[in-house]
Symmetry: C2
Subunit: 197 residues, 2 copies
């Protein structure tokens, strides 16, 4: 029976808790060592669980990587939605969105690296095309007012690439600039993208 109580909690509860531990361990490895550091054994070591529990929650190494990525993706999306919903003016919304994203990453650089780097470095994500950035770009594309579909697509892809690269440089320390200037510049990039050439 799954509902039976055990050690104060139900089986399903503990199973979910273990899954969470594994995802957290995956985030840690993916966000610091990168794709190559995420092996089933390494994740289990980090989570202090045995392989048995890995296969209890995931069929594959792939599945774990995807779960980690989508977990962080959801979190980022929620952060953006919250920030945007508090602002009325378009310019304020851009600013709020950028600011909340920067804060998310500064708060926990692992998340930034997972969000920006993992989809291009990990085969589990690249091959399936499970990248959020394209969908984000598509979303941006809908907000643009000039040009035809292809034009808007190129503009939004470029914008996302510009932001990503700036964020990555900021994350790895090669771009030494205050958080405020970073935000300011990114806001300018966002606002500048939708302009007649």
């Amino acid at each position: 029976m799954a509902g039976r109580s055990w050690a104060g909690t139900t089986l399903d509860d503990r199973k979910a808790a273990r899954r969470e531990q594994l995802v957290e361990a995956g985030l840690d490895l993916l966000g610091t060592q990168g794709s190559a550091g995420v092996s089933v054994r390494a994740v289990c070591r980090q989570a202090k669980l045995t392989e048995r529990y890995f296969y209890e929650s995931f069929t594959d190494r792939e599945e774990l990587v995807v779960a980690v990525y989508e977990h962080i993706g959801d979190q980022a999306r929620q952060t953006l939605v919250d920030a945007v919903s508090d602002a009325a003016e378009p310019a304020d919304r851009a600013k709020a969105a950028v600011r909340s994203f920067v804060e998310l990453m500064v708060d926990d650089p692992r998340k930034g690296r997972v969000l920006l780097l993992a989809p291009i470095t990990d085969p589990a994500l690249t091959t399936r095309g499970i990248a959020l950035l394209p969908s984000f770009a598509e979303l941006v594309s809908g907000q643009l007012s000039h040009g035809d579909a292809a034009m808007r697509q190129m503009t939004s892809i470029g914008l996302v690439g510009a932001l990503s690269n700036v964020f990555i440089a900021y994350l790895d320390g090669s771009l030494k600039v205050s958080r405020e200037r970073l935000i300011e510049h990114c806001v300018r990039l966002v606002l500048g993208a939708d302009r007649q050439p």
Copy 2:
């Protein structure tokens, strides 16, 4: 003796030829399977040579990866230099540079992927910071006329990121657009980067 003739060619000649085969095989694997596909054994299989000859030309797996990357890097740089030296006007130079780069990648997408993706995906390149893009960004930075050093750095990093992302999207087929429009758009990006906000 190294100068002694053997099978019609000198030893050094054949050694160089083998090295070239290995680099070519490395390009093929790095440009299609990505970083994970480049193992010593896989490279040797592809090059139809045995491991013995791998260690004849390279001490490490790392060394091979670096050699492949720098080989393509040199090629790209040479292509750019050639293209730019044929144009007088600044606008024409930007156009020529972008065009030659696009042609290089369309001609052989493996090279595009090595140039753009390998430095972020392969540990042998990431850890040593052997990326050409930053130095390219630095070069672009020097050409900008507005803002202070930090401002120019952010602008150039953003520009490189925008171009890379557009190229990558074009390479993997998610950006369906004619070569001419791609070039046109990228030229606009380059020229638009140096503008008062």
